[in-house]
C-alpha cells in the first residue's frame, strides 16, 4: 500500500504543480482562446490531482487536502519540469508538449495495471487528457520550426526525469499555494 501511495503521489504532485503553473496564464495569455484553454487545462489537472490524492490518502490514512497542502516543499515528488515558472509562451508550450507526451505513456502503463482502482482512475484521466494532447500537438505543429521553441524543447526535455531534488521555483510556488491554508489554525475545516 505504501508503494502504491508513493506512485500516486508522484503523479498527483506533477498534476497539482503543473495545474498551478498553467493557471498563471489565466487573464494574461497571448490571446483569449489560450486564456480559456490554459485555464481549463489547469482545472482538469488539479481535478486529476485531487482524485489521485484521494486514493493515496486512503492508503496513508490522511486526506487529499493534507497531502496536497500540508507537506513541506522538499517532500513533494513532482519532476522539475512542472515546477518552473515559465513566463515565455514558447517555453510553456514546450513544457506542455513534453509533459503530455510523457503523461500519455505513463497513463498507458497505469491502465494496464492489475490494480483495478489505479487502472480505472487512469482510464478516466486519460479520456480527459486526450483533449490536452490534441491542444499540445496543435501547438507543436504550429511552432516546430521556430528556433526559440526548438531550443526550449531541448532545454526542458531532461527535466521530466529529474525527481531527486527541486528547483528554487517550487519553494516559491509552495509559499503562494499554501499561504491561505497556513494562515488558518491547523485542523480548520474548509
Amino acid at each position: 500500500m505504501q508503494e502504491r501511495a508513493q506512485l500516486l503521489l508522484e503523479i498527483a504532485d506533477d498534476e497539482l504543480i503543473l495545474g498551478w503553473r498553467d493557471s498563471e496564464w489565466t487573464g494574461i495569455a497571448p490571446f483569449l482562446e489560450e486564456d480559456v484553454a490554459f485555464s481549463s487545462i489547469a482545472q482538469n489537472e488539479i481535478g486529476h490531482a485531487r482524485a489521485l490524492y484521494e486514493l493515496a490518502a486512503r492508503d496513508l490514512g490522511t486526506t487529499a487536502d493534507e497531502l496536497a497542502f500540508d507537506r513541506r516543499p522538499e517532500e513533494y515528488r513532482c519532476c522539475e519540469l512542472v515546477e518552473l515558472r515559465l513566463p515565455e509562451w514558447e517555453r510553456t508550450i514546450a513544457r506542455h508538449v513534453l509533459y503530455e507526451r510523457a503523461d500519455a505513456e505513463r497513463l498507458e502503463r497505469l491502465k494496464a495495471s492489475d490494480d483495478a482502482e489505479v487502472a480505472g482512475l487512469a482510464a478516466k484521466i486519460d479520456r480527459e487528457e486526450i483533449y490536452h494532447r490534441l491542444h499540445a500537438e496543435m501547438w507543436h505543429e504550429r511552432l516546430k520550426d521556430e528556433p526559440r521553441y526548438v531550443e526550449a524543447l531541448e532545454e526542458l526535455r531532461p527535466l521530466i526525469d529529474r525527481r531527486d531534488g527541486h528547483t528554487p521555483d517550487l519553494a516559491a510556488l509552495w509559499e503562494e499555494m499554501t499561504s491561505v491554508r497556513r494562515s488558518q489554525p491547523v485542523g480548520t475545516v474548509w
Binding site: 482562446e33 480559456v36 484553454a37 485555464s39 481549463s40 487545462i41 482545472q43 482538469n44 489537472e45 488539479i46 481535478g47 486529476h48 485531487r50 482524485a51 484521494e54 486514493l55 482502482e117 480505472g120 482512475l121 482510464a123 478516466k124 484521466i125 486519460d126 479520456r127 480527459e128 486526450i130 483533449y131 490534441l134 491542444h135 500537438e137 496543435m138
Partner: protein, 160 residues
Amino acid sequence: MVTEAQVWEALAEVPDPEIPVISVVDLGVVRDVRIEDERVHVEFTPTFLGCPALEPMREQMAERIAQLGAEPEIEVVLDDSWSTDRITPEGREKLRAVGFAPPTPRSDSPTLVQLQSNGFRCPYCGSRDTALENIFGPTPCRSLRYCRDCKQPFEQFKTI
C-alpha cells in the same frame, strides 16, 4: 420505506448546476441506487474530475434523499464507467434546445482532424458547416464552435 423508483424520481429533479436544464439522471451520472433498510446508497460518477459542479450535485442528491425520510450515502466512483454516451435521449434534446450541441458517440475517439471536420451540427439551424473555435470552453466539458451558416457561435459538449 422509500422505493428505488421514488429515489430515481427525486434525483431526476436535481439539476446540473452549470447546465440547469438537464438533471443528474439525464446526464447518466447516477450509476446505481440501492435501498438498505433506511439507507439509500447512490453510486455517482463525475463527468470531468475537475468539475466544480461535483460537490453541489452530491449535496443536492443527499438533500433530496433526506427529504424522502431516508439516510443518504453518496459514493463517488472514480473510474471510466461514465461516458457522454450515457446522456439520455431526453437529456440530449434538452441540451440542444438551449444551444449546446450534444456529444458525438464515444466510438470515434476525438482527433484533431475529426474536431476540425464538419461532422458537428449547429444546435440552432442544424447546419453541418461549423468550425472548431477552441477545444476548450467555459467549463471542462465544452468546446467552442462557430456556425458559418447562421453565424452563431455555440458550445459543443465534449465526447468523453
